[in-house]
């Protein structure tokens, strides 16, 4: 962290001013409040207040059946909802001991990597906006739209996706989805390249971001950081590589790391992760060629809701539908911790089950919450304008912060 001289004596010339940064400041991209003590433009101290959009998801989850918790996870990190959805599905599948067919795993990997790209598009684009470059953001936003259109084909919604079900997907990918995906893979690398050439060696951008809010690996680990911001400090911790889930072990990809953990490094790590995500998606598409095209869920009638036309016309499906909805399928009494690599860190689900239809206790390990707590201490001595871009580069999402 930077050390700048701080004037705190009683000379009235050096009086500190208090600034309420947030909760609804346009530069903070979400509901964040920081009460800052300023000495001119330099931050002397800050206190973060969080919880403005706390919605008690953990409490609500204790009263809901497993499959109704997916929409709650949508609203954690709403820039990459599919990762949250699938993290939750995989947690329940781990609890129930459901083995997924390879095709479902690969489809999930595609959707999760698209979500990671869309999240990084927003984060890096907004970082550009905050340093005064609007163009890159607009170039990239077009492709986030393309990703949302792919979600639309797969699940019907765009932002809070509620994508997939426990045991697979609710429907198969249609050909339009694959067409849109291929089109995206063809057009996006060009834009990403353009985006990188706009920023990576841009003198203004580099001057604004290099050595700003630099964090050492020790500090980052002590604050339990995870995700791109931890990797920017040089720690190669990625859940996808370390504890592979959803057949990530079948894919070849690199975990990009930075050197000194400043805003510029975080930006570069995210850009490189987008390239790696594209690589993973292309591998997944190639692998899908060898899989049967009609499998999109595991064969678990006890937990996977049958299609409605079956329910209305078929006795067996009706029975399963009834059993699932009324919660009459026994579940193991145990506890499970499952984590996935969310777009901004390790998203963990700690589920304690008592055999009922809803969790006895569900705790979300939310990367935004844990990453954000260093914000006020690390802002000390920083310029106010640097603190703003630091917040953008942490990629803290208010929904996930406050759960």
């Amino acid at each position: 962290m930077q050390n700048h001289p701080v004037y705190t004596d009683n000379d009235p010339q050096n009086e500190l001013s208090t600034l309420n940064l947030g909760p609804t400041h346009p530069a903070t991209h979400g509901v964040f409040q920081n009460v800052l003590q300023l000495d001119g433009e330099r931050i002397v101290s800050g206190v973060s207040t969080i919880g403005y959009i706390h919605r008690a998801f953990e409490k609500i989850a204790e009263h809901r059946p497993f499959y109704q918790i997916t929409p709650l996870t949508d609203r954690l990190n709403y820039c990459s909802s599919p990762i949250n959805n699938m993290g939750w599905h995989m947690t329940v599948e781990k609890l129930l001991g459901i083995e997924m067919p390879k095709r479902v795993d690969y489809l999930r990997v595609i959707v999760m990597e698209l979500a990671r790209i869309s999240d990084h598009i927003v984060c890096n684009g907004v970082l550009g906006v905050d340093t005064g470059a609007f163009t890159g953001f607009l170039y990239m936003m077009e492709h986030r739209e393309a990703i949302y259109e792919i979600y639309e084909e797969v699940c019907g919604s765009r932002l809070t996706t509620n994508i997939g079900r426990i045991g697979g997907f609710e429907r198969n990918f249609n050909t339009i989805a694959f067409d849109k995906l291929r089109k995206f893979l063809k057009t996006f690398p060009k834009t990403l390249k353009e985006f990188e050439s706009l920023f990576n060696r841009n003198r203004i951008f580099v001057d604004r971001t290099r050595d700003v809010a630099a964090v050492t690996a020790e500090e980052a680990l002590s604050y339990s950081w995870s995700g791109p911001i931890l990797r920017a400090t040089g720690v190669d911790y990625d859940v996808r590589a370390m504890n592979p889930y959803s057949s990530y072990e079948d894919f070849e990809f690199e975990v990009p790391v930075g050197t000194n953990g400043d805003v510029y490094n975080r930006f570069l790590v995210r850009n490189e992760e987008m390239w790696q995500s594209l690589r993973i998606i292309e591998q997944a598409l190639a692998k899908l060629e060898k899989e049967p095209t009609d499998i999109f869920h595991a064969d678990v009638p006890d937990f996977y809701l049958p299609p409605k036309e079956e329910v209305y016309n078929n006795m067996e499906a009706l029975i399963y539908h009834f059993k699932i909805v009324m919660g009459e399928v026994p579940t193991p009494t145990t506890e499970v911790y499952h984590s996935v690599e969310g777009a901004n860190g390790e998203l963990g689900f700690y589920l304690v089950n008592d055999g009922g239809r809803s969790p006895y206790r569900l705790h979300f390990r939310r990367p935004s919450f844990i990453n954000y707590q260093m914000y006020a201490p690390m802002s000390r001595g920083m310029l106010l304008s640097d603190a703003i871009i630091n917040m953008s580069s942490l990629n803290v999402i208010a929904g996930e912060l406050d759960a």
């Binding site: 008690a56 409490k59 204790e62 002590s222 339990s224 499970v336 304690v352």
Partner: protein, 167 residues
């Protein structure tokens, strides 16, 4: 799997802290141990600083409430040894009358908000914590909402009464 098995880890811990740890189980390969509040910081510190174990990463701190047990409130730690890629879960249970725990903020800075969240929702008081305030709920709240006796909806709310709907 990591460089050491759960069994080796348990043997090592038992040698260092004899008769202070109880094995809860090994659900899904994650070794789960229970201990008392007097030892927890020594155990966490040993796990973090031992040259072979290196549980340097505090994944999470949270709590759980079992109203029907004598020791109602449990605080749960998840640690991760990034070098060896092994995780461990530690639990400490306490009675409702004595919800004091030593703080882990001296070991990890990241424990600060995790403990504040645990205090906010379960009322566990972490002794020695530098700034133990509510974090997500409003400051003047009196209840601890994740405890089981706290209702999901405010029982005093009137906007959902049947007569509003002609019932």
């Amino acid at each position: 799997m990591g460089k050491f098995s759960n069994e080796e880890l348990l043997n090592k811990l038992n040698a260092e802290f004899p008769e202070q740890l109880t094995v809860v189980g090994e659900p899904f390969g994650l070794l789960t141990l229970e201990t008392g509040k007097d030892n927890i910081i020594a155990i966490l510190s040993y796990l973090k600083n031992d040259a072979a174990l290196q549980f340097i990463y505090l994944t999470d701190i949270t709590a759980i409430h079992y109203p029907e047990q004598e020791k109602q409130i449990g605080v749960i730690y998840h640690l991760h040894s990034l070098v060896n890629n092994v995780r461990i879960r530690l639990k400490v249970f306490m009675t409702d009358g004595d919800v004091h725990m030593p703080t882990a903020t001296e070991l990890w800075n990241g424990a600060n908000w995790m403990e504040r969240e645990t205090y906010d929702f379960f009322g566990v008081i972490f002794d020695g914590h530098p700034d133990l305030r509510r974090i997500l709920n409003v400051d003047d709240m009196t209840a601890f909402p994740m405890r089981k006796e706290f209702p999901l909806e405010d029982p005093n709310r009137v906007d959902k009464k049947d007569y509003f709907f002609g019932r």
